[in-house]
């Protein structure tokens, strides 16, 4: 990992390599697309001097990161954009305390919501909390900016936010690393009560210190090489101010336009932007999502134009930037009926979640959902999920519905949450349920991994990020510990048992938890499995089995067929067939 040769890396790999070269002592975070691979790569270096750990959620991750940085260690904390919402509580106050060791917080934003529930623009966090933010636009910059972020963090004693977006995280480019920093990683925590104990008397002084620091950082931004002018500004009819991957699109479609490339978007280099504007005459701001830079540039009295408001939705692209440069609104997507229908994401064949959703649908229940593969239960043909807001929201949403609707509907509401999501944000919801006397039902869909992001370890898996053994914490035990009396565990492949348990739980007056435990199929790939086939002469072609939405089932001439290569042997289709047309194949 100390190669000086040219490397070809994802943006995420480049961040991890830079952190290692910066002498990082600890990395932590919570998995979330598009940030997940940063910490996996860091752990993958196997460097005994680096402690890399998944945290149960982003708030804990940042708090752990702060502790390490208070003790003087260089620390990397990673999360996706919505993870920063979870970590926002420590974040805002840590802007007052600042840090001793460099702390770089990666907020990996997901414009276009490739794999997210919203496309919030986390540049606003930099302004709101008062923290500097860097925006890399390539793998090389992901490396360079991470190295620089650690230096800035220590020079100004502040957390530095690094905001790559999906296209930077998940694109590869050539990276030339520089020599690693020589850091002897031995740390001692030293007491500093006025600085680190944020009671009002101390915090007021620290807020004042933060404001002064932000002025220094603004001067730093105006002088910094992070913000560079590309092309000849003098004599041009128009110049562009751009940041992040939007800069690359501008260079792609308009290589001759002068561009002020903003690498440090908070504090904005307003002086530099004013000078650039004077030189080019007119400035167009090209930025993804909100008009963050544009609003601040205009507020500073610098005349500037922005994109058409239609471009605040979704990510940019070379074609979209071409339209922005031409002053046009976003093009309406043209439906192409001549192309094959899209392949929407579906639950894998044999996924334990499908069995659960088949029963929820059969019982016609209202289902509050959460963040994970099981959110796919909202898509046809299952289409039996009623809410999805954020990590842990399923439980609170169910409680709220239960409290206000008529009893007959209240008894038909269940919450579903995954195992990793339960550890992340479900515990406090369960506490509310027990404390306030809910009679509702919670299904913990325990597939023994963090499946949606590719199978990361969590407190229930018995493994740590580096593969080491850990205590496996059972969500059933946690619920009992939180005061839930009615806790059951079932394999959702046993659909009769699950249905019976569910009916009992809905009928009783206690708050009930059913842990539906079946390992993710991605964990058990290659293991021996049952196989099923359709007896064509028995099949009535009624389509009941197709309505469970398994990709291993397909329509043949006059009957349904099972694609053996895809079948995982869960037997759900055989269960729903009233005619006994689907049978297990003898081994």
């Amino acid at each position: 990992m100390t190669d000086s040769a040219k490397l070809f890396l994802y943006g995420n790999e480049a961040v991890a390599l830079a952190a290692a070269h910066a002498g990082v002592k600890m990395g932590t975070g919570y998995p979330g697309t598009p940030s997940t691979e940063i910490l996996e790569t860091l752990a993958g270096f196997g460097d005994p001097a680096i402690v890399a750990r998944w945290a149960p959620n982003e708030k804990v991750a940042l708090e752990v990161g702060l502790g390490a940085a208070f003790a003087g260690a260089r620390t990397l904390v990673t999360m996706k954009h919505v993870g920063v919402n979870v970590a926002a509580d420590p974040l805002f106050t840590a802007a007052y305390t600042g840090v001793r060791g460099g702390l770089v917080l990666v907020t990996a934003d997901d414009p276009a919501m490739h794999s997210s529930q919203n496309e919030q623009d986390n540049r606003h966090y930099a302004e709101a909390a008062g923290l500097p933010m860097l925006e890399p636009a390539s793998s090389q910059e992901a490396y360079d900016f991470t190295r620089l972020a650690f230096e800035l963090s220590e020079r100004y004693e502040t957390i530095v936010l690094l905001r790559p977006t999906t296209r930077t995280c998940h694109s590869k480019g050539i990276v030339t690393p520089r020599a690693p920093d020589a850091i002897e990683r031995r740390y001692v925590f030293e007491r500093d009560i006025p600085r680190l104990v944020m009671v009002p008397g101390n915090a007021r002084k620290r807020h004042k210190a933060l404001e002064a620091k932000l002025e220094e950082l603004a001067a730093c931004s105006n002088a910094s090489e992070l913000n560079v002018c590309v092309g000849e500004a003098k004599g041009a009819s128009i110049g562009v101010v751009a940041s992040g991957v939007a800069y690359q699109y501008v260079r792609e479609v308009a290589p001759d336009l002068p561009v002020l490339k903003v690498g440090m978007c908070w504090p904005l280099p307003l002086q530099r932007i004013a000078e650039f504007t004077k030189a080019v005459g007119e400035v167009l701001v090209v930025e993804e999502l909100s008009d963050f830079m544009l609003d601040h540039i205009r507020a500073a009295g610098i005349p500037a134009r922005g994109k058409h408001p239609s471009f605040r939705l979704g990510e940019l692209s070379p074609d979209r930037v071409e339209r922005i440069l031409a002053g046009k609104p976003a093009a309406e997507p043209k439906p192409r009926e001549d192309l094959p229908p899209p392949r929407p994401p579906v639950l894998c064949p044999g996924c334990g979640h499908r069995s659960v959703f088949a029963i929820l649908k059969k019982l016609k229940l209202t289902v509050t959902g959460d963040i994970g593969c099981y959110t796919l239960g909202a898509l046809p043909p299952l289409a039996n999920l009623d809410t999805c807001i954020c990590m842990g929201a399923s439980i609170g949403n169910a409680l709220g519905i239960e409290r206000v609707v008529e009893p007959e509907q209240a008894r038909r509401v269940v919450a579903v949450i995954g195992d990793s999501t339960f550890f992340h944000s479900g515990l406090t919801g369960v506490l509310d349920a027990v404390y306030n006397g809910s009679s509702g039902t919670l299904l913990i869909l325990d597939n023994r991994t963090t499946a949606m992001t590719g199978g990361q370890a969590h407190p229930g898996t018995g493994k740590r990020l580096d593969g080491a053994d850990a205590p496996a914490i059972d969500p059933a035990d946690v619920c009992r510990g939180l005061g839930v009396r009615d806790v059951k565990v079932v394999d959702p492949y046993d659909r009769a048992a699950l249905e019976q348990m569910l009916n009992e739980s809905l009928a009783n007056d206690a708050f009930s938890v059913i842990v539906c435990r079946h390992p993710c199929l991605l964990l058990t790939r290659g293991e021996k499995r049952d196989l099923y086939r359709v007896e064509p002469q028995v099949c009535k072609d009624c389509g009941a089995c197709l309505r469970v939405g398994c990709p291993a089932l397909c329509q043949a001439e006059g009957h349904v067929e099972i694609l053996t290569a895809y079948c995982a042997g869960c037997g759900l289709c055989a269960d729903v067939c009233k005619f006994g047309a689907i049978v297990k194949v003898d081994a």
Binding site: T33, S138, T166, Y249, E252, L339, P340, P345
Partner: protein, 159 residues
């Protein structure tokens, strides 16, 4: 920019779209090009479409190619190939698939992706040694020889 060459590799989860991109990118980096490769992952294990872009030239800015600007579309799946067809450059675009006659020549149908790279290699003028080296570097040890053979079958294949 006009001197950037755009290659789209399309298929479905499990066909090795990303590994194919990796081999191609290795070869291009080794030949001295600036290279960017881009894809969206996260959902690909759940049977979705997988699209990867490899762009190369003297200096590549955007990780994404402009629409309708693909010089080559490598289709590992027939339906995905049709879906990506509008991305082909109208004048200089070439669709590279693996026709049944070529697939028959492969010892293992899983060599489809390397056979497709073999077909692409005829357009790029990079010595086969470099391709073999990248395959050795990126493919699982047990399948290296089969993959090199599949690459060779593709490189020699005439419609």
């Amino acid at each position: 920019m006009s001197d950037t060459v755009n290659v789209l590799i399309v298929g479905v989860g499990g066909q090795g779209v990303l590994r194919t991109s990796q081999v191609l990118a290795d070869v291009l980096v080794g030949a001295g090009h600036d290279v960017k490769q881009s894809e969206v992952h996260g959902m690909s294990q759940r049977g979705g479409s997988v699209v990867s872009q490899v762009r190369f030239g003297p200096q590549v800015h955007s990780p994404l190619a402009p629409e309708g600007a693909a010089h080559y579309v490598i289709a590992l799946d027939e339906a995905e190939g049709r879906r990506a067809a509008p991305q082909l450059h109208t004048e200089s675009g070439t669709l590279i698939d693996v026709p049944p006659k070529l697939l028959e020549q492969l010892a293992d149908p899983r060599g489809r992706n390397m056979a497709a790279l073999g077909r692409l290699s005829r357009h790029l003028g990079i010595p086969s040694q470099a391709w073999h080296e990248a395959i050795r570097h990126r493919m699982p040890a047990r399948s290296i020889e089969a993959n090199i053979a599949a690459f060779g079958a593709g490189a020699l294949f005439d419609d």
